[in-house]
């Protein structure tokens, strides 16, 4: 196998794991090929903060030796993965994308990383992100992450490197963390699959917090099948995270065969037809809804009038939580923050407490509206983002008015935060491209613990649309 064997490198981890078991691909070949792709492409894309070159190769040699003996660790034996640098990895630099943590080397793995390793996966590296997973970073201390479909455009955030690495095939699979859309947004912008599980489905132990009440780790992959595979490995109760659910983890991969037939899917009109939604996005999402109907789903428009308030409500709650966490560092080490992060946190520190509490009450109303809709429908459908990936320069320019601030920070977030505020699962799956060759993401939102239905419908759509064969033509720096 050589790096030119793109069919293997762009294949999903499920396929790669089968090839390893059939002894047609070796873990050493796979790790070596991805390291070569990182050397070639990541100079420009800046998906990785740390590449675990030597340890990954050593693990691959060990995995290969075990394979020779027929000793399989688990479903991800020999699969190279990378994880957002917000998530602890024993003995490996973990920065949360901030200069403040430039020397932080955890002594233990986070629960999700420990579970992936126990399943046989090999840590290839740590992935870039907006500082402290908050979004709005102006200058990235570890390099400006770039969209593999057009390097002048934003890859989305906060799990920027996870989206890039999945879409550009710099590793087999990745993990991100989604507070208000941080897995789904990069999935949408980069043309990958991103799943936010139900809040409490996956342990956050060892993950630097953005907002406890909404943080959730999830897979960012090239295929829905891989998202199901990874979720099956990382989900479940963890005594180190008392907010994880004790509910049984179902067989997510087996559920993929259920498809979308017979499902009732509500199309959120405020997000599909709203004035913020780009015409190409609207058209593509409506086409996807028709595609799901052709697969046997019953599609129906539904109005959720509180949803457009979600972005502002989310930011008031998330940023206040984050500001509370960062207050001491803000006072003592302000100059080490990126300017965008610092301004975001200081702003949140100045919002009146009564206004935050009213936002918490508004959250309850939005949540009820989403859950009531999900009592009627199996899934809700919306664009992941109102527009394709914007140019990087467009959202780093100084703000000159409150209207500009509101449009930049609240509007887009109203598309992903309804699921975050309600604590329910949601997936972004590629559903088309703009005329300018930028990906568009379809979002499917499910009932609490309804990941199986979310994944089944997304898998049916992905299989019918056949978009996973399209690959970015990445320019070499």
């Amino acid at each position: 196998m050589t790096p030119a064997d793109d069919d293997v490198l762009f294949a999903g981890a499920a396929r790669q794991a089968a090839l390893i078991r059939e002894r047609r691909v070796s873990p050493v070949e796979l790790v070596t090929a991805y390291l070569e792709r990182i050397d070639i492409f990541d100079v420009r894309l800046r998906a990785f903060i740390t590449v675990c070159r030597e340890s990954a190769l050593a693990e691959a040699v060990r995995a290969e030796a075990e394979a020779t003996k027929g000793a399989w660790r688990g479903p991800l034996h020999g699969i190279p993965f990378a994880v957002k640098d917000q998530v602890d990895t024993a003995g490996v630099l973990t920065t949360s994308g901030s200069a403040l943590l430039r020397a932080n080397i955890p002594s233990a793995d986070s629960t999700v990383v420990a579970k992936l390793k126990a399943a046989g996966a090999i840590l290839l590296g740590k992935l870039n992100l907006t500082e402290f997973a908050l979004g709005g970073t102006i200058r990235f201390p570890y390099g400006q992450p770039r969209n593999p479909w057009n390097p002048d455009h934003d890859p989305g955030g906060s799990s920027s490197g996870s989206g890039i690495a999945a879409a550009a095939a710099l590793c087999s699979v990745t993990l991100g963390e989604d507070t208000g859309g941080s897995v789904r947004s990069p999935a949408s912008y980069c043309g990958a699959v991103g799943l936010r599980p139900t809040w409490g489905r996956v342990s956050r132990h060892g993950c630097f917090p953005a907002a406890w009440s909404m943080d959730q780790i999830g897979p960012l992959t090239r295929t829905v099948e891989d998202a199901a595979l990874l979720l099956g490995v990382i989900a479940g109760y963890d005594p180190k995270d008392p907010l994880t659910s004790r509910s049984t983890v179902p067989g997510y991969c087996a559920a993929l065969a259920n498809g979308a037939k017979g499902m009732r899917i509500g199309v959120i009109t405020e997000l599909v037809d709203g004035s913020d939604t780009h015409p190409e996005v609207r058209g593509t999402i409506r086409d996807a809804a028709r595609g799901l109907a052709s697969l046997g789903a019953a599609m129906e428009d539904i109005s959720l009038p509180l949803v457009p308030l979600s972005g502002a409500v989310f930011m008031a709650l998330c940023d206040s939580e984050a500001a509370g966490y960062h207050m001491r560092w803000l006072s003592e080490r302000a100059e080490e923050y990126d300017q965008g992060t610092r301004r975001r946190l200081v702003t949140a520190g100045l919002i009146p407490a009564a206004a935050v509490h009213r936002a918490a009450r508004a959250r309850a109303l939005i949540r009820s509206q989403v859950l009531d809709a999900l009592a009627e429908f199996d899934l809700l459908l919306a664009p992941t983002s109102p527009h394709p990936a914007p140019a990087i320069a467009s959202h780093t320019a100084p703000l000159t008015s409150k209207e500009q601030a509101g449009a930049r920070f609240f509007g887009r977030r109203s598309y992903t935060t309804p699921a975050s505020l309600a604590g329910v699962p949601a997936i972004s799956v590629p559903c088309g491209f703009t005329a300018g060759n930028l990906p568009i993401g379809l979002q499917l939102i499910g009932r609490p613990m309804g990941e199986s239905s979310v994944l089944a419908a997304a898998h049916a759509w992905e299989s019918a649309a056949g978009l996973s064969i399209r690959r970015p033509a990445i320019a070499v720096a």
Partner: protein, 61 residues
Amino acid sequence: MADLGPEDVGRVAASLSLPLTGDDAVEIAHRLNAFLDALAALDALPLEQVEPWPTRPEGIS
């Protein structure tokens, strides 16, 4: 409600020991005014009738 200006932001931030440098106060004023406008819109909702709710979504044990 009148918009806050950079001077207002500077005074409150100083009282809370929150750091400001360069043009921070100007941009933070825009951000804060955007928040206050957006959150004021919530007053139209029946917020006083919201019942207490659990952290976890229904159906999770």
